[in-house]
């Protein structure tokens, strides 16, 4: 009897132990499949580096493109523009001139949309516009609407983000200058989770050939894509799992200013769009990824907004141990700003759509 007693105890130890691991295994399988989420796919060589170009300063940002010409604006020298031909590396320094020399401004940003360039200050507010090549900026919209970010979508319209006077929260809109200036705001697009300002912060994107607009939230695993007048807005989840912005805000001080109480959890660091592909830089590691990788490169996740799918991921490597600040795709080139350098990559089939123009020439000869 006692022998049986010990035997039962032994079995009673072994069987639940085996069972527990098997059950854990089955659940793990289930979770992984439902939430393919944190497993990134890295196909070999979706981009191939062409060269790094020293541009001398780390204050440059991407202002836009005109075919093979990349234009970089400079946040510390706002009237200066650097033009780089990404194919032959020719550079040209350009000085922009306002027609109104008495102009007062606070924070200027330059954006290129051929045949025009736009100089914008949403805090004054004003927008100047001029022709590429002429580089004289004439007042285009004055004392119109305040905005905190704007990107031109055609010669007469901009995709803007501003504070809605009605809701006191951030809203996306279209600022149009036809015979008179109009601002159409859609207060339903940005979805408030905490305060409707900090938590909805993100990157605005325009997909120029299709006219598609997008918005990528910084602090949650979500982005949207919509048609030019905000029709057909679709929301997408990224592969990350942070659904609700993890930020903490201070109570307003005497001037009514609110700040972040602690560093926010940044889900999407920066983003770019190209032919219906949304590319998002994320420093968040998938479950099977090594932390050390982030010392060498930034991770870019690629989504297809037409199919609504996560496609693949790739690394953008640091230059001199500095990480990518901003990146964009133009034609068959991926351009990344890293510290005081610009890195030029060539995008590869089948991961990226190739320009027809280049299919006959570059593609067959190869890099």
């Amino acid at each position: 009897m006692i022998f049986n007693h010990v035997l039962i105890k032994l079995l009673g130890t072994i069987v639940p132990s085996v069972g527990l691991v098997v059950i854990l295994f089955l659940f793990s399988e289930d979770q992984l499949h439902r939430n393919n989420a944190f497993t990134r796919r890295y196909p070999p060589h979706p981009i191939i580096k062409q060269y790094d170009l020293d541009i001398g300063y780390n204050s440059y940002y991407i202002a836009g493109f005109d075919n093979d010409l990349l234009y970089l604006g400079n946040s510390t020298a706002p009237w200066h523009l650097l033009q780089i031909n990404v194919k032959n590396r020719d550079t040209l320094h350009i000085e922009l001139k306002p027609s109104d020399t008495e102009l007062k401004y606070r924070s200027l940003s330059v954006s290129i949309l051929p045949p025009y360039f736009f100089i914008m200050d949403g805090t004054v507010p004003f927008i100047l516009r001029g022709k590429l090549g002429d580089w004289k900026a004439k007042t285009w919209i004055e004392a119109g609407a305040y905005f905190n970010a704007a990107i031109p979508i055609d010669s007469n319209a901009l995709y803007v983000r501003t504070t809605s006077s009605m809701t006191k929260k951030y809203a996306l809109g279209i600022l149009r200058q036809a015979k008179k200036m109009t601002l159409e705001l859609d207060t339903t697009l940005l979805e408030t989770q905490i305060d409707g300002r900090f938590d909805v912060d993100g990157v605005m994107l325009t997909d120029l050939p299709s006219g598609r607009l997008a918005y990528v939230y910084y602090y949650r695993n979500e982005f949207m894509a919509m048609d030019p007048v905000f029709g057909n807005a679709k929301r997408y989840r990224t592969i990350d799992t942070i659904k609700v912005a993890q930020i903490q805000l201070t109570a307003p001080d005497r001037h009514g200013n609110i700040q972040m109480a602690k560093p926010p959890l940044l889900v999407n660091k920066t983003a770019s769009i190209h032919h219906g592909m949304v590319l998002i830089q994320s420093d968040r590691l998938g479950k099977n990824e090594s932390r050390h990788m982030l010392d060498q490169a930034s991770i870019i996740d690629v989504y297809n907004v037409v199919k609504g799918t996560y496609e693949f991921s790739f690394y953008l490597y640091h230059v001199k141990k500095k990480r990518v600040r901003e990146f964009a795709i133009q034609g068959n080139f991926l351009i990344a700003l890293v510290d005081d350098h610009v890195s030029i990559y060539r995008t590869q089939t089948p991961h990226f759509p190739q320009n027809i123009e280049n299919n006959g020439t570059q593609y067959t000869t190869g890099p």
Binding site: I2, F3, T13, I14, F25, Q31, R291
Partner: protein, 148 residues
């Protein structure tokens, strides 16, 4: 009878010493390169979803068991717990071997250099030791008469 009484005392004790050394060694080498251990667990197809907390749980359990095995008052029960843990490890190895194309090992230290067959033999050997220790220290004579 006197001899067998001695065996009854020292055998489970020796096994518990052996286990304690094994556990302390394995747990320490896991914590030594904890980041690596966690990544390996995460990459394992069996436990991916729980890698983060299992990575902590395993070495802590190993330390705790080593301690309990060395205490006279808890040794008998610790042998059962050890048996359970070894059964789990072995199940894990079998699942990894049979359900995954990619096989990482996160056992720690030189144990990682064992081949899979050796590993299973190693584990089964220790499981055998556990069972013997339990049987030896089981508080009755009929059992001993039956088995030994």
């Amino acid at each position: 009878m006197k001899g067998s009484k001695k065996v009854k005392v020292w055998f489970p004790y020796a096994i518990s010493m052996l286990y304690a050394i094994l556990f302390i060694y394995a747990a320490t080498s896991k914590l030594w390169d904890f980041q690596q251990f966690k990544i390996q667990l995460g990459q394992s197809p069996v436990l991916t979803a729980y890698a983060a907390w299992i990575a902590w749980l395993v070495p802590i359990t190993e330390y705790a068991l080593a301690f309990l095995l060395l205490m006279d008052s808890t040794r008998y029960r610790a042998h059962y717990a050890t048996l359970g843990l070894m059964a789990m490890f072995t199940t894990y190895i079998l699942l990894v071997l049979n359900f995954s194309a990619y096989v990482p090992c996160s056992c720690g230290g030189v144990l990682e250099d064992l081949g899979w067959t050796e590993h299973i033999i190693f584990n089964l050997f220790f499981i055998g030791l556990s069972i013997m220790a339990i049987l030896q220290s089981a508080p009755n004579k009929t059992l001993k008469a039956t088995l030994l």
